[in-house]
């Protein structure tokens, strides 16, 4: 299936420990299996310690692209945290960019030390909507906590991504991949997280 645009640049951002790398690899595997060339560029290491982390997932039906997304060339930004969504928009945004954002904020340490103030939910939401062609904001953390699985935020977001229809992803194939990617005793929980994410975005 042709992609529009090609290469399609997906940015997945969040805070170290939120499962952002697993999410990017899941999407990468799914798109590769669907016949596309995929490169994922990640930053980790020191960035894990409370810092912002992001992966660039570059998908193409033409050829292999390098892992670095050019500035201003993001097509979809998935962010597990709203401030990080804004950081990615300022770097990779353009009038056609879409964004799928977990609205639950995580305060940087600079906010705790009172050197900076964290923007209000309303200000972040307004800016995200203004600077994107289409945006979906929902509280994925709340869903994950309701399932007693805060670590499943990334899978909730994956459900959200499928519901946006931004990528040619088949809902059942994605569910199979989720099941195959987690230990068997966590399969049902993750599938629930996945479905709840889909419903949240489909109903938004």
């Amino acid at each position: 299936m042709p992609l529009s645009p090609d290469p399609y640049n997906l940015i997945i951002s969040g805070i170290g420990g939120q499962g952002n790398i697993l999410l990017s690899r899941l999407v990468g595997r799914l798109m590769f299996r669907a016949g596309y060339q995929v490169s994922i560029g990640e930053t980790f290491g020191a960035a894990q310690r409370g810092g912002g982390v992001f992966s660039g997932v570059r998908i193409s039906s033409k050829r292999l692209y390098g892992p670095i997304v050019p500035q201003g060339a993001g097509n979809m930004i998935i962010s597990l945290e709203p401030l990080e969504a804004l950081r990615m928009i300022s770097q990779y945004g353009n009038p056609g960019v879409k964004a799928l954002v977990n609205s639950e904020g995580i305060h940087p340490v600079a906010v705790l030390s009172q050197k900076a103030s964290y923007p209000s939910d309303e200000a972040m939401s307004a800016a995200i909507h203004k600077a994107t062609d289409q945006a979906w904001l929902f509280n994925a953390t709340k869903i994950a906590l309701e399932l007693d699985a805060p670590i499943a935020v990334n899978i909730v977001m994956l459900g959200g991504l499928v519901a946006t229809g931004a990528l040619p992803l088949d809902a059942d194939e994605v569910a199979d991949e989720v099941k195959a990617s987690v230990p068997p005793h966590l399969a049902e929980l993750n599938l629930t997280a996945y479905r709840r994410g889909m419903e949240a975005v489909a109903g938004a």
Binding site: R29, V38, G50, G93, H107, S117
Partner: protein, 635 residues
């Protein structure tokens, strides 16, 4: 993720660049693997350690990079295929051995050895972005560098072939955007034969008669250059008579291809991509450059290829060819090679307009998005013992009031110098350097130096390279306090085991070296404390600070992430008494201690905590000056 030996030949799987390097080594039959963790190289050894088989493949975390390369080189002299992996900083430590290994070669047993070094252009996870490619020239050794994940697999096999054929170790260079990029990789066959190791005692491998050996080495490098002239991984795409040739290596290759596509220059510009980066396959390169009048070199950090290309052009009577790159200012001297940088340079040379962001959108971003984007500085995790250790150190130094001076080194303790740390460390360079620099300062009394000197190191660093420096301090009778933050892990790079943890890279039991016993055997006075007993730790720091001789204080408390992996539950439930909490008037726990789980709730003006971040360590109970925080043991 499955162990990399479980993938069937012919199937494709998503592998991290470092896993692709490991898979290539496995497909070529690597037997002996060593290394020391360091981003972005850390995943190579664990990927291979998951596949070890007695008598076929051994993989270890070595105490440091010097021990790692020595072990790997020795295995190659005994006829095995060996690989040692490290980051650029680690290679510096190993150079003394490596420069001599060039002279001796690997001996007559038919072994082969790859020294895998991963650089970190832009210093994403490093104190510097030092370009280790120069070390190939420095050590007179061949170096190869892949451009894609799939090529990473194939190039490992090629490099082993070169090493085996020429009895020379080969540098294999990785970089962040290869090592930490994931691509679909097609698997090759895995060998089944088991090697037999033995040493040939009829020959002596030593560098002496060094002039002769140096000459032999230079001849060997020419033979390797001749092989590189034929290397199938060096490619040229483009017209016969290009207006310009881009010479690219590593990350430069895909960046160049994308920029040429975006600017529509593919019919006008040639792309010459090199996987063998030292020695330069000069004849092959000149064959392509003689057809053009302009060259643009795309590479990360230093002008390494650019220098080699300029030298070769001059040597071959092509000195009039214009060379663009770092020297001409078309490519910055620092940071990564990105598609944007390649695009900007090409657009400038061809006088084209580089695509830019829509102007109205750019204004929107600058006015409405950018002002909201506050920085997210790095910090210790919730429950990290280091936060408590540095908190205590701060209190002790203030109470001591003699302007104690703290030296530090690399690891999670380094976060102290970041904006959200406690800003105690004032001198910090390399692994274990806190101990070496403190030993120097601790001998300055005759020069009027009166400040107490405190060195900080981690437990992995202690074994890595602090020990000989501590011996130096004892031998030369420095006055200093060495604090060892013993969190039972090489935490910053991903909790790899080390000689103090009692297990190996292959997850088998190992003798557990006791940090305290090692220090005592050297002649240090040793005190052990728990950093979570903050007041007691502060007191003992004050007592030891400025005492004569080399004092050692071990602050022992497991890394919270290591503890969580084992325990899976929180030790304590935390409650905050909203009556006792002074909130904004105090804010010691959030503003000063900066536990990421604690924050001032703007609605109540009191401290609240985020349950999903809190690790339940309970140290905040000791921090609160008003006893507003309490802890209950979890069932």
């Amino acid at each position: 993720m499955a162990a990399i030996d479980k993938y069937e030949p012919g199937t494709s799987h998503f592998l991290l660049g470092n896993e692709a390097i490991a898979r290539g080594a496995l497909e070529r039959g690597v037997n002996f693997v060593t290394g020391y963790p360091g981003t972005p190289s850390s995943e190579i050894v664990p990927a291979l350690a998951q596949c070890t088989q007695k008598g076929k493949l051994h993989a270890e975390w070595s105490t440091n990079e010097l021990a790692a390369v020595e072990g790997a080189a020795a295995a190659a002299t005994a006829g095995l295929l060996s690989l040692s992996a490290m980051k650029n900083a680690g290679l510096s430590l190993a150079l003394d051995f490596i420069t001599h290994l060039s002279y001796t070669g690997l001996g007559p047993k038919g072994g082969a050895c790859l020294m895998v070094v991963c650089d970190d252009p832009h210093g994403h996870s490093s104190g510097d972005e030092t370009d280790s490619r120069w070390l190939a020239r420095f050590a007179t050794a061949p170096m190869v560098e892949p451009m894609t994940g799939q090529q990473a697999v194939e190039l490992v096999k090629y490099a082993f072939d070169i090493s085996q054929k020429h009895s020379a170790f080969v540098f294999y260079r990785g970089y962040t955007r290869l090592s930490h990029a994931s691509n679909p990789i097609t698997m090759g066959e895995l060998p089944t034969d088991a090697p037999k190791a033995s040493s040939d005692s009829s020959v002596s491998l030593n560098p002496y008669l060094s002039i002769d050996k140096h000459q032999d080495l230079l001849a060997k490098m020419e033979a390797i250059r001749a092989e590189f002239e034929q290397c199938p991984f060096n490619t040229y795409q483009g017209p016969q008579k290009p207006e310009l040739v881009v010479v690219a290596s590593g990350a430069g290759h895909l960046a160049a291809a994308e920029a040429l596509e975006t600017l529509g220059l593919e019919e006008r510009v040639g792309l010459l991509s090199l996987a063998t980066i030292w020695p330069l396959p000069t004849a092959w390169v000149m064959e392509h450059l003689k057809n053009t009048s302009q060259v643009l070199v795309l590479e990360e950090v230093d002008p390494f290829m650019e220098t080699a290309v300029k030298e070769a052009l001059v040597d071959n009577g092509l000195g009039t060819v214009a060379v663009y790159g770092k020297g001409s200012g078309h490519i910055p001297m620092t940071g990564e090679m990105t598609p944007d940088r390649a695009l900007t340079a090409l657009a400038r040379i061809f006088d084209l307009k580089a695509p830019a962001r829509d102007e109205a959108y750019e204004r929107l971003v600058q006015q409405e998005v950018a002002p909201l984007v506050i920085s997210r500085g790095l910090s210790w995790c919730a429950g990290c013992p280091h936060r408590a250790s540095f908190w205590a150190l701060d209190k002790a130094i203030k109470a001591d009031a003699r302007d104690a001076y703290v030296t530090g080194e690399i690891g999670c303790s380094t976060l102290d110098v970041f904006p959200e740390g406690k800003a105690q460390i004032k001198l910090l360079h390399s692994m274990g350097s806190g101990t070496g620099t403190a030993a120097g300062l601790g001998q300055l009394k005759p020069f009027g130096y009166t400040q107490p000197v405190v060195a900080v190191c981690g437990d992995s660093s202690f074994f890595h390279s602090s020990v000989p420096r501590l011996i130096n301090a004892v031998y030369n009778q420095a006055d200093m306090l060495q604090i060892i933050l013993d969190n039972s892990a090489t935490a910053m790079t991903g909790f790899q085991p080390h000689p103090g943890t009692g297990n190996t890279a292959e997850n088998t039991p190992a003798p557990r070296l006791d940090v305290a016993k090692v220090c005592r055997s050297i002649g240090c006075e040793v005190t052990i404390a728990d950093p979570f007993e903050v007041r007691a730790t502060t007191k003992v720091m004050r007592e030891l600070m400025g005492k004569p001789g080399v004092q050692v204080l071990i602050l022992r408390r497991a890394c919270e992430l290591v503890r969580m992996k084992a325990a899976k539950s929180h030790p304590f439930r935390i409650t905050i008494d909203q009556e006792k909490c002074k909130g904004t008037e105090c804010a010691v726990c959030s503003r000063d201690f900066r536990c990421p789980a604690l924050y001032l709730d703007p609605a109540t003006g009191k401290t609240a905590f985020k349950e999903q971040i809190c690790s339940g360590c309970g140290v905040c109970v000791e921090i609160c000056p008003f006893k507003a925080i309490s802890k209950q043991e979890n069932d």
